[in-house]
């Protein structure tokens, strides 16, 4: 304890009550407040109230030893009063410092006056307040009228009201003059800690201030606790105090910043502590919802720091929730007044909204002002372009539009693509979101576990199209294409003019991403392709190759995190490719000029680490057995590496990796060479950087193809995306250099070479794209998919019809034609796909692999293929597979000899078989079906002992209900979901004991038990916690990516000094 030398006698009472009037102890807390402390002390010294002692508590001000010593200041200005001086060992905050001081002095003062060091009372203020307290027996806390420090005619506060969320409301107009309009004593919800007179007994009963709050809103909490204990809080307008509001206006340095973080944090704590239980039930969720809404608003306002503040506030309360509950128990123990009696002192939502909107409008005005300038500039450019679009340019534009329509006709007018990863959207608009959140998976073997947040992102589009699944897919691809174009456009935006940017964007859109990705149905490559230009752009900036004005490392890290997370959400290994590219760029930069500062290289690593973190908890499972990265470079890595066999440095340098029209690809290196030869200065350096990326990509692909390293990504398309972006950038630089640099060069060989090269490249582009345009080459699945969207749609229609009759089931699609021709980590090459009853839909792409279940299913399929069984229906029935969609091919006869399968449809391209022996997804049987035990992974190789078994009750397995009434034992519940200890089953209230159910879940129902059977997968609080953290993380990253600097803290409501 650090106390000033010989404080006022600590062993003797500080103040003694005189006859007739209560003794008052004023406690002044100061922290870096020398500037105002003198006035404060002088005002206390001059109080007309006789029985006043003053205790000054220095809350660990760093400058207290400065001359004059703080204690000396106190002594000098409190000559008429008995006084004391104490100093806290470390900063405890306003309430904490008072609690600390009062615990160390003995006082029998009847009243306590708490005063900020930047507040100065009128000489009769204490007398008036004490008189009010004495007059109203039920009043425990009284505050004065607060006016401005500099202009006492201006009102600052006459008591505070709050809304249901603890948001403070002054009830004053902006810069309202004090004309006596509020000079009537009134009861208020709370008075601020600027100056408040508190009954000492009540203060003791309330157990003092909440020291955890440190700063801001601790006054709300104290008054709220006094109110629910049955005491009144009043304002005595005849007492007046000036207040400098030093902390909130930033005039005083403090460790309690940012202000809004502490305000939000403490408000939520105050609500949790003081609101009654029924109100709390809906108040806290609403508060969190409002906080999230606010975060989204801050994205619009491009204030990532504010988003972080909100997130921190929520996290702080989450971390201290148990302690808050203890504090709540203490506060509620003395409750004497129900919440409804306090409602008269709270404000309506409309009042709060009006106040809030009024403030935010100022900020929006500022933000939108910037937007308006931007829009105006673009509008004038568009008008200028319109004026120029006459004659030949207009004709060229028409030709380009017609060419695009022709080339993309397969995409624009065909039914929704159903090839590779371009699967149709589920019929329900929210299906992807539900698949993300629910353990009751309709696809795969249903193992609950983290899923890629891509489901959330891709799930946006059906909502945008109001549930129109077909339109959602086209919109998604369109947006991805647009994103890819814009990314390549931005890549060279700092070094070339508009024609160069357009060239870069167009080359990239029509090249690898648009052509190869769409033809192969590689959604992962398309998403990665859309994200890659932004990643490369950020890497170039962070490694110092491009350094625009106003470069903001934080914003760049945010962009890098988001872009790399988007790419990795479909192709996790791309983070390694990006990291490799960063190393190559940094090394090349070190060769050419000064290397980038270590801080920025660390920021690059941090950006990619954040990208990984934004995909948690799914990204934590990448390397687990059967995780997406383990699939690619685990035991099956050779099958992925084999797809690289026809690619390597040579094909990358010739623009043939990823696959594009051959001649078009050859135009890219020509443009790249022109860029290096012609460009000057920063353009040339950027061209060299892009060539570094291309060479490194080629090297990587060669190493993978030769088996020297295991593939970090699943296909050459994914591995070559950065090279494709780099080539597009080189194309843009070539055009830019031709327009901007060539004329500065002296006449020589360069001019004809550049001209000839550009002409040759233009010819190659036209010759390469021409046939593709005429053939409608940008067609989903155009690259060798024999099974088209129409076939898949036909099967889905049949299955949908069966759903009407049979309810939900699983369908097994056998044949490589149903899977992707271009493998990806999420959807590797496979000769079978397991789907829900609606057929192949986009959520199938994200089915979590279930190790034991997958192995069992493979064994069953092998038994069918090898012909060792003709009861494949029963084996597959254990997986709740009711239908098999069989691609025509060499293995078909084996399936046709299975005695459990009936032929539903016999078409040229496929056979649809119905399984006569499927088990229900979940049902109560007389015992565990023996074929299930036979399918135990790694278990006995003996034949499953097939015998009849009675199904007694089927559990209704719709999304909303998993229960079966009137279930009774003895028996066994079997759930055809991959084994997971999280599944629970109970009959009535009695939980069931687990059985060894092979690959799935089974429970024993003992005899003499009856009731409703319920199967559930309870979510833990942690599960919800990470969902929330994930949302907050994305919001922060989005805000950071769009940030333009830190806004000043807002003075005003709720922010006290």
């Amino acid at each position: 304890m650090s106390i000033a030398t010989k404080p006022v006698p600590m062993s003797a009472p500080v103040a003694a009550a005189g006859p007739g009037s209560p003794a008052v102890l004023a406690v002044v807390v100061t922290h870096n407040g020398r500037k105002w402390l003198k006035d404060c002390l002088v005002s206390l010294n001059a109080q007309t109230y006789p029985h006043l002692d003053v205790l000054v508590v220095d809350d660990a001000s760093p400058d207290f030893r400065s001359s004059p010593h703080l204690k000396r200041v106190v002594k000098r200005h409190l000559r008429r009063r008995r006084w004391g001086f104490m100093r806290t060992p470390r900063s405890l905050g306003f309430g904490g410092a008072i609690n600390w001081a009062l615990s160390r002095v003995r006082t029998d003062a009847d009243l306590l006056l708490f005063v900020h060091d930047d507040a100065a009372l009128d000489s009769d203020a204490l007398e008036q307040m004490a008189a009010r307290l004495a007059k109203d027996r039920d009043t425990a806390i009284v505050g004065p009228k607060i006016v401005s420090w500099d202009d006492p005619a201006m009102l600052e506060e006459v008591g505070m009201a709050v809304d249901r969320f603890g948001y403070p409301y002054k009830g004053l107009e902006q810069e309202e003059m004090d004309l006596g309009q509020h000079d009537h004593p009134s009861e208020v919800f709370y008075v601020t800690s600027t100056c408040m007179l508190v009954d000492h007994d009540v203060f003791r009963r309330l157990r003092g201030w909440d020291a955890q709050m440190r700063a801001f809103s601790e006054d709300l909490d104290l008054c709220w606790r006094a109110r629910i204990a049955g005491h009144a809080v009043r304002v005595e307008p005849s007492a007046k105090a000036r207040h400098a509001i030093a902390l909130a206006t930033g005039e005083r340095s403090s460790r309690y910043r940012p202000t809004r973080y502490f305000i939000r944090r403490n408000r939520l704590r105050a609500i949790i502590k003081n609101a009654s239980a029924p109100r709390l039930f809906f108040l806290v969720p609403l508060f969190i919802l409002l906080a999230l809404t606010e975060m989204i608003g801050f994205i619009v306002l491009r204030q990532p720091g504010e988003i972080l503040n909100v997130a921190r506030a929520l996290a702080w309360n989450l971390a201290r929730f148990p302690q808050t509950l203890s504090a709540r128990a203490r506060a509620q123990r003395i409750r004497a007044v129900p919440d409804r009696r306090l409602r008269r002192l709270t404000v309506k939502e409309t009042t709060r909204i009006r106040s809030y909107v009024g403030y935010q409008a100022e900020r929006l005005e500022e933000a939108w002002g910037r937007r308006a300038e931007f829009v105006a500039a673009r509008s004038s450019e568009a008008r200028a372009l319109g004026h120029r679009m006459r004659g030949a340019p207009a004709a060229l534009a028409v030709i380009v539009v017609i060419g695009l329509l022709l080339g993309f006709r397969g995409f624009l007018w065909s039914p929704p693509a159903a090839v590779g990863e371009l699967l149709p959207y589920p019929e329900r608009a929210s299906a992807l979101w539900r698949a993300f959140a629910s353990p009751w998976q309709s696809v795969g073997l249903g193992q609950p576990g983290p899923t890629s947040p891509s489901l959330l992102l891709l799930g946006v589009w059906p909502l945008v199209t109001f549930g129109a699944a077909a339109a959602a897919q086209k919109l998604l691809i369109f947006v991805l294409g647009l994103g890819a174009f814009a990314g390549a456009y931005r890549l060279v935006s700092e070094v070339v003019d508009r024609p160069g940017r357009w060239t870069a964007g167009s080359l990239y859109l029509l090249g690898a991403v648009g052509y190869s990705g769409m033809r192969q149905g590689a959604l992962g490559a398309l998403v990665l392709g859309a994200a890659a230009p932004y990643v490369l752009h950020s890497l170039l900036r962070l490694t110092g190759w491009v350094r625009p004005r106003g470069f903001n490392v934080g914003a760049e890290v945010g962009k890098l995190a988001i872009a790399s997370a988007l790419g990795a959400s479909m192709a996790p290994g791309c983070l390694l490719v990006f990291a490799g590219a960063a190393v190559v760029l940094a090394a090349a930069r070190a060769l050419v000029a000064r290397p980038a500062p270590a801080k920025e290289l660390l920021a690059t690593a941090a950006g990619m680490a954040c990208g990984w973190a934004l995909l948690l908890p799914w990204s934590a499972t990448w390397l687990s057995p059967t995780g997406p990265l383990d699939r690619v470079w685990g035991s099956e890595w050779r099958s992925f590496a084999a797809t690289f066999a026809d690619h390597g440095t040579f094909s990358v340098l010739l623009g043939q990796t990823p696959d594009a029209p051959a001649l078009f690809g050859m135009a890219l290196p020509v443009l790249g060479l022109i860029a290096v030869l012609v460009a000057q200065g920063q353009r040339r350096r950027l061209a060299l950087a892009l060539w570094s990326v291309i060479v490194a990509s080629g090297l990587l692909i060669d190493l993978i193809a030769s088996g020297s390293i295991r593939p970090p990504v699943a296909s050459p398309t994914e591995a070559g995306v950065l090279a494709s972006v780099a080539f597009a950038g080189l194309g843009g630089i070539a055009v830019g250099a031709f327009r901007l640099d060539l004329k500065r060069r002296g006449l020589g060989l360069l001019q004809p070479v550049a001209l000839g090269g550009l002409a040759a490249a233009a010819f190659l582009v036209v010759a390469g794209l021409g046939p593709a345009v005429l053939d409608g080459g940008w067609e989903p699945g155009g690259a060798g998919h024999e099974i088209g969207a129409t076939t898949v749609e036909e099967v889905r229609t049949v299955l949908a019809g069966e759903v009407q009759q049979q309810g939900q089931f699983r369908a097994l699609w056998v044949g490589t034609g149903w899977s992707s021709s271009s493998p990806s980590a999420l959807r590797p090459h496979a000769d079978h796909v397991l789907t829900g009853s609606r057929g192949q839909v986009l959520s199938d792409l994200f089915q979590a692999p279930a190790a034991a279940g997958e192995r069992s299913l493979d064994r069953a399929l092998n038994a069918i293929r090898s012909g060792s069984t003709d009861r494949g229906g029963r084996l597959l029935g254990a997986f709740n597979i009711s239908f098999v969609v069989l691609e025509r091919g060499p293995g078909v006869p084996r399936w046709l000899t299975q005695r459990d399968f009936g032929v539903v449809r016999d078409e040229a391209g496929y056979l649809l078989l119905e399984n006569a022996a499927p088990l229900a997804r979940s049902a109560l049987y007389t015992r565990v079906p023996p074929e299930v035990a036979g399918l135990r992974a790694g278990g006995s190789s003996a034949a499953p002992r097939i015998s009849a078994i009675e199904r007694r009750t089927t559990v209704q397995d719709s999304a909303s209900s998993r229960r079966a009434p009137d279930a009774s034992g003895p028996g066994a519940v079997f759930l055809s979901e991959a084994f997971d200890p999280g599944w629970e089953a109970r009959v009535g209230e009695q939980p069931l004991e687990r059985l060894d159910g092979g690959w799935a879940n089974a429970w024993e129902v003992p005899p003499s038990i009856a009731g409703t059977l319920v199967i559930s997968y309870p979510r833990t609080a942690g599960g919800y916690g990470w969902l929330m953290a994930l949302g907050v993380g994305w919001l922060v990253a989005l805000g950071a990516a769009g940030s333009r600097g830190r806004p000043p803290d807002r003075p005003g409501s709720g922010a006290t000094s």
Binding site: S866, G867, G902, E914, A943
Partner: protein, 465 residues
């Protein structure tokens, strides 16, 4: 200036890297993945489908069930017999079928092969056919007739959970004969139908048939009861073929005064087929000039009467195997029918074997046969070493020395008499060879005055053998 120098350094580094990577990449071996062997199938439960009894008085049927491997297993006959019966490795069990229904013989833990032996009393006859390990939507039968003395029937069995609807098409030497009543023959799930062909078509001396399932799958056999001297007297039963082929093998065969062998070729395609038939005896391979490049018009069948052709086979070469090949690549179906008129009279018919194998299993083809033999044809161009084992009921296995490791020259056939080993006891025959061969078993029963035969069932060679 310094930056300019750095740029040049970078260009040189990149160029060197690219050149070396391209050079190394061009020479380096790429990772390739061949389709590896599948994981051993752990679940063994497979049925073979056996024919229903033909309609007629006092028809009796026995099933000979042979283990395909040395792995012991259990067998269940559905639906005629309830309960499972143990089947020792390489064992044989013979079970009579009481009900007239078609049956499934289900092998658990180890695969089984089965043959059905049926005896009739009107006319007196005996016939055997393999039980089918598969069902199909397409079945072919090349031989057949609708003459007055020939009562031809198609036995259709649907063991699947969905109803099958089949169309029976008939082919004569002049073309296809469609019959509306045979266009939609429904075979309900788990049931069988017997289609009596003579009720639908007038007399045709050569009448091939196809069974095409428009919906579902079936198993089809052809049965014929012959009662004339010309066509022979007796009962014949043959399992159809599920696909056409360019090559057909018939290991057994009889050419001489006391036997009339016919090869009927069905060309179900829209192209003309050109076929050549070669004969193999135990001494030499013969190519009769008249059997070279025989044309079979599209959608027709053609009967080749080997008895009327100068084959050059001497009396001591009585047995002769036949190999039919389509020389223009048009797949056909070939079925052989032999009419025995000597001391061992009777009729027997079988669809040929499409592909050679290393191990063949043949169940009993007659109860207590008086003559029993197995014929093996070496289809390759190198000598094969053939061994024959007989598996008797109760798990007894006999392998007489003279049947062990017999050398069979390329392209030749050999007939092995078994009756002295079996002595009337039911036995299954397992033929193993170190090179691809084909095998057929034939028996004669004096009591039934008929010949019956069955083509071998190719099975996988067990590991370690």
């Amino acid at each position: 200036m310094k930056e300019r120098f750095g740029e040049w350094i970078l260009v040189v580094v990149l160029g060197a890297l690219a050149a070396s990577a391209a050079a190394v990449g061009a020479g380096a071996e790429r990772v390739r993945v061949s389709s590896g062997e599948r994981e051993a199938a752990p679940f063994v439960e497979r049925a073979v489908y056996c024919p229903p009894q033909v309609d007629g008085p006092r028809v009796r049927q026995d099933l000979g069930i042979s283990a395909e491997t040395r792995v012991p297993g259990t067998v269940q006959i559905e639906p005629a017999l309830r309960g499972r019966t143990g089947l020792p490795g390489d064992g044989l069990i013979v079970r009579p079928v009481e009900a007239p229904a078609a049956t499934n013989v289900v092998g658990y833990s180890a695969p089984v092969a089965a043959s059905s032996v049926m005896t009739t009393t009107k006319p007196t006859g005996i016939a055997a056919a393999s039980c089918s390990p598969e069902a199909s939507d397409l079945w072919f039968f090349a031989a057949g007739s609708s003459e007055l003395s020939a009562d031809q029937r198609l036995l259709l069995y649907n063991p699947f959970p969905d109803e099958a609807v089949v169309r029976v098409a008939l082919f004569t030497p002049v073309g296809e004969r469609s019959k509306a009543n045979l266009a939609d023959v429904a075979v309900p799930s788990g049931e069988w139908r017997e289609v009596k062909i003579n009720r639908f078509i007038l007399r045709e001396p050569v009448l091939s048939a196809t069974v095409v399932a428009g919906r579902g799958r079936v198993v089809a056999w052809r049965a014929m009861l012959s009662t004339s001297d010309d066509r022979g007297r007796g009962f014949e039963l043959s399992l159809g073929s599920t696909e056409a082929s360019q090559t057909w093998y018939f290991p057994d065969g009889s050419i001489g005064d006391s036997a009339a062998e016919h090869l009927t070729v069905l060309n179900p395609t829209g192209q003309e087929a050109v076929v050549t038939v070669a004969l193999s005896t135990s001494r030499k391979r013969i190519q009769p000039p008249e059997l070279v490049d025989v044309t079979v018009p599209p959608n027709t069948s053609k009967d080749l009467d080997l008895a009327t052709i100068d084959t050059g086979i001497k009396a001591d070469d009585f047995g002769a195997a036949a190999t039919l090949s389509s020389t223009n690549g048009v797949p056909v179906i070939a079925e052989r029918r032999i009419v025995y008129t000597g001391a061992s009279a009777g009729v027997a018919a079988e669809v040929g074997i499409r592909a050679a194998g290393m191990r063949w299993v043949m169940g009993p083809v007659a109860p207590r046969p008086d003559e029993d033999s197995v014929s093996v044809l070496n289809t390759g161009n190198r000598s094969a070493t053939v061994s024959i084992e007989l598996h008797l009921e109760g798990g007894e296995v006999t392998a007489p020395g003279k049947l062990a490791e017999v050398t069979l020259k390329a392209g030749l056939r050999k007939e092995f008499a078994l009756e002295r080993v079996t002595r009337g006891r039911p036995a299954s025959v397992v033929v193993t060879s170190d090179r691809p061969v084909v095998a057929e078993r034939s028996s004669y029963s004096k009591a039934r005055r008929d010949v019956s035969d069955v083509m071998g069932t190719a099975v996988a060679t067990p590991s370690g053998r």
